[in-house]
Amino acid sequence: MSQIPLTHIIILSTLLFFIGTYGFLTRRNLIAMLMSLELMLNSVNINFIAFNKYLYPENLDGLIFIIFIIAIAAAEAAVAIAIIINLYRNVRSIDAEETDHLKN
């Protein structure tokens, strides 16, 4: 492992983060946007673990943090999906370009 610089791991996570961002910015389906968000959150998790392990191994702050992130992400995703389903019931569409009744 020691051959792999920390920077590479962080860059991996950063790339993943921006892939997720790109997805969030361009996917037309709301659920697909949610999936992109999961990617972003996961990339942050990688960061935490990597920092924790390689820089600050004396405690488990990073690890604990990602447990909470995962839990919260689950809650968030659940609520989001509930809302999206409700929206689907009301609009019969979950296209991101069509949900723009509220504007200007």
Partner: protein, 641 residues
């Protein structure tokens, strides 16, 4: 001498009358308001005459200025303040007499003349207001006091001219009178400011002292400070004179006076003949020491203005057909006499004859001109018209008016032994000593004066032989006749008062002897004028038309008052209203308002312009968010370096 209280009654009685009649007159005192006004005026007049006698009798060898009463009215700074006071000196005492006397006559006359008017009480209250203001003006101890009362007489004149407010022409005339004099007052005001700045005082005595004494630093300063090549002192005096010229209807600020005849005739007699219009002369006389000692240039301007106005008005008077307008122009002409008399005057003794003559003429003129107006009023009262063509042959139906009018005409024409002869003679003498050109012009004017006055006289009382039955009205009530008679006595006799004993520019009496040889010429000129008038107007004939056609250019120009009104109209309507007024209003609505509204619309436009960034699409929002994050990061990094 008198208690100040007694003196103060002179102006305060009219003031009181004004207040009482103004507030309660209309409702409660309508019927007796005339009597109240006349009574109070009578008391005032009596006190004035008594004051005059006491004043001149107290120290016959030297008539000093006395301040009978004064108070600080409005202090501006330590040395400059408006004081209100009661000044006694020869001219103010003389004016007191003139004003109260004529005013009393007019009050009395109006009892009959204005009888049955709707706003009888208002009329009397205005008359009282005017009298009060005029009295305040003449007893001023302070140049600002004079300015204040100056404005007040202006406004009472305005109110009285506009008395028949339902007549549009009266409204217009009152407006014109006020605005034109107001314009002149602007000059007066600035003149006061200049003088007060130079002399550090507004008080007449101090002002005169500081601006005449040799070696006074104020005088030095006032002469050396100059603006556009003219010294501050000259500027100040000339501007003050503009005020005087406006009030006294001197050319070219005279245009309001003929129109002012829209007022009731007694008012014309009081204000626009005897008293208010001579305020300008009085003002110059008041400041005469400064003019003569420190600023002869300004005095020369006074002289030329006076003589021009005298001739100019006389010429116009020959062509007018409205009798009151003829009298108005004649007034203007006579005031021109007084003005140039001041202008040709020197200082002290014989050389101060012009000053004395001017005041003398002012005094006598008050009587005969008031008489003329009241007589004309009687005629108008009977005929219900102002036009000469509606009159003629009235000498039988109104004998009192006829005789008194004739006396007045003789007086104004300067025929011995009537009052006008003496005063005019003194003026001409003074002019002869000072300036031959002026003398010549004055002489011509005297002739024209005699002509147009007798033109009037003959047209009214002779001309066509109207039948008795044409006029059912009587000549007027007793209250109208009494003033005519009294004034006629005055016009006939006041010439014999040795004026030099009382009124001189330095307070020292001198004996002026009548130069009979010199008097022959003017009298002859006047007689010629009368003769021509008799020739033209004693009987109806076509000679006037012939002359008018022969001199058509001059005649039309004179008839049209030399187009001065039109010039004014052009200036006010086109320049003041259309250019200045309209552009100011336009600028305000378009530019200033427009800017404010423009700011509002720019903001609204911006608001509309950016509305699309809030597109309602969540991915747009996220993109802005994302870009914002990195924008702020760059900013932060920039800030750190």
């Amino acid at each position: 001498m008198n208690l100040p209280f007694n003196l103060l009654l002179i102006p305060l009685l009219p003031l009181l009358t004004f207040v009482v009649l103004g507030i309660f007159g209309r409702k409660y005192l309508s019927s007796i308001s005339g009597i109240i006004g006349t009574t109070s005026m009578f008391i005032s007049a009596v006190i004035s005459i008594q004051t005059a006698i006491q004043y001149f009798a107290s120290s016959p060898e030297m008539h000093l200025q006395q301040i009978a009463w004064k108070m600080v009215w409005l202090p501006f700074s330590e040395d400059i303040s408006i004081d209100i006071g009661f000044l006694l000196d020869p001219i103010s005492v003389m004016m007191l007499v003139v004003v109260t006397l004529i005013s009393f006559m007019v009050h009395l006359y109006s009892l009959g003349y204005m009888k049955g008017e709707n706003r009888f009480a208002t009329y009397y209250s205005f008359l009282s207001l005017f009298t009060f203001s005029m009295l305040g003006l003449v007893v001023s101890i302070n140049i600002f006091q004079i300015y204040m009362f100056w404005e007040l007489v202006g406004v009472s004149s305005f109110l009285l001219i506009g008395y028949y407010f339902e007549k549009p022409s009266a409204v217009a005339a009152s407006k014109k009178a006020f605005i034109v004099t107001r314009f002149a007052d602007l000059g007066f005001l600035i003149g006061i400011l200049i003088l007060s700045f130079q002399a550090h005082t507004l008080d007449f005595q101090t002002l005169i002292q500081r601006l005449t004494q040799n070696g006074s630093p104020f005088l030095h300063d006032a002469i050396t400070t100059s603006f556009m090549g003219v010294s501050a002192l000259t500027w100040g005096l000339l501007l003050v004179f503009i005020g005087g010229a406006g009030k006294s209807a001197m050319f070219p600020l005279h245009i309001w006076l003929p129109d002012a005849m829209e007022g009731p005739t007694p008012v014309s007699a009081l204000i626009h003949a005897a008293t208010m219009v001579v305020a300008g002369v009085y003002l110059v006389a008041r400041l005469f020491p400064i003019f003569i000692m420190s600023c002869p240039v300004a005095l020369e301007v006074v002289m030329w203005t006076g003589v021009t106005s005298a001739l100019f008005a006389a010429v116009i008077a020959c062509t007018q057909t409205d009798i009151k307008r003829v009298l108005a122009y004649s007034t203007m002409s006579q005031i021109g006499y007084m003005m140039f008399a001041l202008g040709v005057s020197g200082s002290g003794g014989e050389s101060g004859l012009g000053y004395t003559a001017s005041m003398f003429h002012l005094f006598t003129h008050a009587f005969f001109k008031a008489l003329l107006f009241l007589g004309a009023g009687a005629v108008i009262h009977m005929i219900h018209s102002n036009e000469i063509k509606d009159m003629g042959g009235l000498r039988k139906s109104m004998p009192v008016t006829h005789i008194t009018f004739l006396i007045a005409c003789l007086a104004i024409a300067g025929i011995f032994p009537f009052a006008g002869f003496f005063s005019k003679e003194e003026i001409l003498t003074a002019a002869l000593h000072a300036n031959k050109v002026v003398y010549g012009l004055a002489l011509v004017t005297a002739g024209i004066t005699a002509f147009y006055m007798f033109r009037l006289y003959f047209s009214i009382f002779w001309s066509k032989e109207a039948s008795q039955g044409d006029h059912h009205h009587s000549e007027g009530t007793l209250t109208m006749k009494i003033p005519l008679i009294l004034l006629a006595i005055g016009a006939a006799t006041t010439g014999f008062i040795p004026f030099g004993e009382y009124v001189t520019n330095n307070g020292k009496p001198f004996h002026s002897s009548l130069d009979l040889a010199g008097a022959i010429g003017p009298v002859l000129v006047a007689l010629t004028g009368i003769a021509i008038a008799m020739l033209f107007y004693k009987k109806q004939n076509d000679r006037p038309e012939k002359v008018a056609t022969a001199l058509s250019g001059l005649y039309v120009a004179a008839y049209r008052k030399f187009y001065i009104d039109e010039i004014y109209l052009f200036i006010t309507r086109n320049i003041i209203f259309n250019i200045l007024g309209k552009s100011a209003a336009w600028f305000d609505r378009t530019i200033i308002d427009g800017t404010m509204n423009g700011i509002a619309s720019v903001i609204a436009w911006n608001s509309n312009f950016i509305k699309n960034i809030q597109s309602g699409k969540i991915q747009d929002y996220a993109l802005y968010f994302f870009v914002g994050v990195f924008g702020l990061t760059l900013l932060a990094i920039y800030l750190v370096n």
